[in-house]
Amino acid sequence: MPETTAAPAETGRPAPKGPGRTGTGLRLARLRDFALVPAIIAIAIVGQIVHPIFLQADNLINILQTMSEISLLVLAQALVLIVGKMDLSLESTFGLAPGVAAWLTVAVGTGSGLGLLSGFWAIPITLAVGVLVGVVNALFIVRFGLNGFIVTLGMLIVLRGLLTGISGGQTFFNLPESMIYLGSAMWFGVPASIWICLLLFAVGVLVMGFTGFGRSLYAIGGNVDAAKAAGIRTDRVLWITLIAASVLAAIGGLLLTGRLASVAAAQGDGAIFTVFAAAVIGGVSLNGGKGTVFGAFTGILLLYMIQNVLTLAGVPAQWIEALNGAIILTALALSRLTGGKTQE
């Protein structure tokens, strides 16, 4: 029991030391948020050495755009992890939500489109599917008290199967203009998806750091009984978080759909591993109550920068996958060493 041994030393300290302690304590807390920044700078330097194109605006925008869609999954997962749950089904929602929208709005004749609704409905449908998936998840996890891991694993398979079912295993083309716009438009010379991604992360930082709701996520993830004792309506917070996460996944899917101008039956397949890795590397604990939205962002940014460097270095595409896995493990080991604590 380390606390017991630490106690006398702590209180034995003379009182006047108080203010000095405040400063260092706060600085340390801030530093933890920026733990990955040195690594990101190091990769930037390595990247520049590997290929002089790395630090050019075009390449940086390219990195940000390729990660913008999946980073919304990371944001969603970070929220769910902080509240002390897990959501594996995010990657399937990422594909299914725009898939359903395409299915209902693409004209008959191209692929398996039904052409039931006008293109105007594509985005509302995408978001509605996100809400619906979140409601089903929450129903099982919060209302019926089932284990979140198993529930969302089941949902992952069901939703993936649904997308394969409605698409007949094929890719949706000829999407309505409204579905393409967000993923392909340029705002002020920068792709809209980057703006949207940065905006949503900024909102995430604000909500998690500066609203009572956001703080209640930390409280629930840290100690649900204490949160209840403090009067937090824990079930309601869990419902909202799970639904918000699914909606974020749907938006991410929509952005990717716009960039590729299509919805593949396998959209999002396997993304959940990268998502978990990015969140954990970014300092979000799998046990809940710990981590920040900003940290999660640096996690996914680091992974995508490394990938970009590997591509620039001319590593054959067949090997990228294996290297990716190795990088994730190395990054975890490094964050364990620098964090000094067992990964939870």
């Binding site: 304590g25 807390a29 840290g222």
Partner: protein, 509 residues
């Protein structure tokens, strides 16, 4: 210094409970018990395990409703159970289990779900830090409110919890065994803090197993025994002997028990432990047990007796010191090595460490002896069941057969399965930790009889317990207090001697 006059001018009790009865199924947890707490005093509530203290606390804090009786605060009836805020304004409790969220800062723990907001409806950290710092300053708690709560020691966390309780407006605070996890210096600081708060008009109900603390800090003491109120008296007017007698019951005396044959002084030494020390848990313990001898380790929770017994059995490694079992020296902290050296263990809590609930009696009892179940690592079901049947007969376990899952058994029979497992390896040294906890009277007698029988066959036995019945059959009992062996009692001790020794009270003082 305990009987300082109360500073409050308010007359009448700040809290009172009258004729409270609470039943859980068959068991009566409180039987017409009452307590009256006057403003400004520090009131002690004492009693042995099962006396009804925890039940009274949960009723007084509005977590449970009494079956009969009434609670009043300041002369008015208590609020209804769902009105948590109303309860919080009247009474606050610092439970033994911490309700602090480790990852959040101290300030946020204090104002969780009561965050300050700025004009934009966002959390205003600055004003919250200021408010929290002011709150802690009011009660002179010197903790930086911006540190994560996990960095605080147990003592500081407790202060933070007390301050939080006070911030809801309650001036009546229940402290449930606050000293259990603190060392001596920290306890002294807690008491200083309590005295200062008493000057500021805070009333305490103080629950502790340590009687000397009650003489140090409390004005009035109430004793519960067997779910009933026994007495309430000013602490200074109650000699320690009388207090112990009230807790144990007047009829305490020598229990009739056959005298055990004395152990020959030349019997083999089966356990030789020297200089065992592990941080604050226990220090400088020497223990020798001869074949056929039963040695008790007595002490309250936090005395270190459980940890010491677990160390002897190989569940944990000592910081310093040597353990020799029957001439061998098992690797410290290795259960397989200790098993091989001849140690059998009945662990502290059968639900946690003793049993695998869904597995059968046969699997559970033979878990320690895989090598006797078959050759080359294969388990012969027939041989396992044979072995299990032997043990079922030997320990009179009531079951239709060895294949029944152990969670289908009663508590007493489950404990017999744990005992059977410990005995399966024919140990030279048997270590028992609270072996009769949560067991009915008849199984208890049987289990203790079995222990004597095993000792009679030449096994050395160590029993770590605070149950007097467990300790009564020991040839000698080492009493531990705050990690040190303070007293050694030979068989034939009186109950009040033992209780006083465990509580750390000098009877003649």
């Amino acid at each position: 210094m305990g009987a300082s006059t109360s500073p409050s001018s308010v007359t009448g009790p700040i809290a009172e409970a009258e004729r409270i009865t609470k039943r859980y199924g068959e068991t009566v947890a409180l039987d017409g018990a009452h307590i009256t707490i006057t403003p400004g005093e520090t009131h002690a509530l004492v009693g042995r395990n099962g006396a009804g203290k925890s039940t009274l606390v949960s009723i007084l804090t509005g977590l449970q409703e009494p079956d009969e009786g009434e609670i009043r605060f300041g002369g008015r009836p208590a609020p209804r159970l769902p009105e948590r805020d109303a309860w919080r304004e009247r009474v606050a409790c610092v439970y033994q289990k911490s309700t602090i969220i480790p990852e959040l800062t101290v300030a946020e723990n204090l104002y969780l779900n009561r965050h300050d907001h700025n004009g934009l409806r966002l959390v205003s950290w600055k004003s919250m830090w200021k408010k929290a710092a002011e709150l802690l300053e009011t009660w002179s708690v010197d903790v930086d409110v911006r540190r994560p709560a996990k960095e605080l020691g147990v003592e500081q966390r407790q202060f933070v919890e007390i301050a939080r309780a006070l911030s809801f407006g309650a001036r009546f605070i229940i402290l449930d065994e606050p000293t259990a996890q603190l060392d001596g210096a920290a306890i002294a600081r807690l008491f200083d803090r309590m005295r200062a708060m008493r000057e500021q008009g805070v009333t305490f109900l103080f629950i502790s197993h340590h009687l000397q603390e009650i003489y140090e800090i409390c004005d009035t003491v109430t004793v519960f025994r067997d779910a009933r109120h026994i007495l309430t008296a000013p602490v200074m007017e109650l000699p320690r002997g009388d207090l112990v007698a009230a807790m144990t019951g007047e009829a305490a005396g020598l229990q009739e028990r056959k005298a055990r044959p004395s152990v020959p002084p030349d019997a083999d030494v089966v356990l030789d432990a020297r200089g065992l020390t592990d941080g604050d848990l226990y220090a400088g313990v020497d223990l020798r047990v001869r074949a056929g001898e039963i040695v008790g380790l007595a002490g309250l929770g936090g005395s270190g007796k459980t940890e010491l017994a677990e160390t002897i059995a190989g569940l944990r490694a000592p910081g310093e010191g040597v353990i020799e079992v029957a001439g061998r020296r098992p690797r410290a902290g290795s259960v397989p090595d200790s098993l091989a050296a001849g140690v059998g263990l009945v662990p502290r809590d059968r639900h946690h460490q003793g049993l695998i609930p869904l597995m059968s009696i046969a699997d559970n009892t033979t878990m320690t002896v895989p090598e006797r179940l078959g050759t080359a690592g294969l388990v012969s079901g027939r041989r396992r069941d044979e072995l299990a049947r032997e043990m079922i007969t030997n320990l009179a376990i009531k079951t239709p057969g060895p294949e029944l899952p152990v969670n289908g058994l009663s508590g007493g029979n489950q404990q017999k399965v744990v005992m059977a497992r410990a005995l399966a390896s024919d140990p030279r040294l048997l270590v028992l930790i609270t072996p009769t906890a949560g067991v009915d009277v008849r199984s208890k007698e049987f289990l203790l009889g079995k222990v004597e029988e095993i000792a009679g066959k030449g096994t050395g036995v160590v029993i770590a317990s605070d149950e007097l019945d467990d300790l009564r059959l020991c040839d000698r009992v080492l009493v531990m207090f705050h990690g040190r062996v303070t007293t050694e009692l030979a068989a034939g001790w009186h109950d009040h001697e033992m209780v006083a020794a465990m509580e750390g009270v000098e009877l003649d003082a």
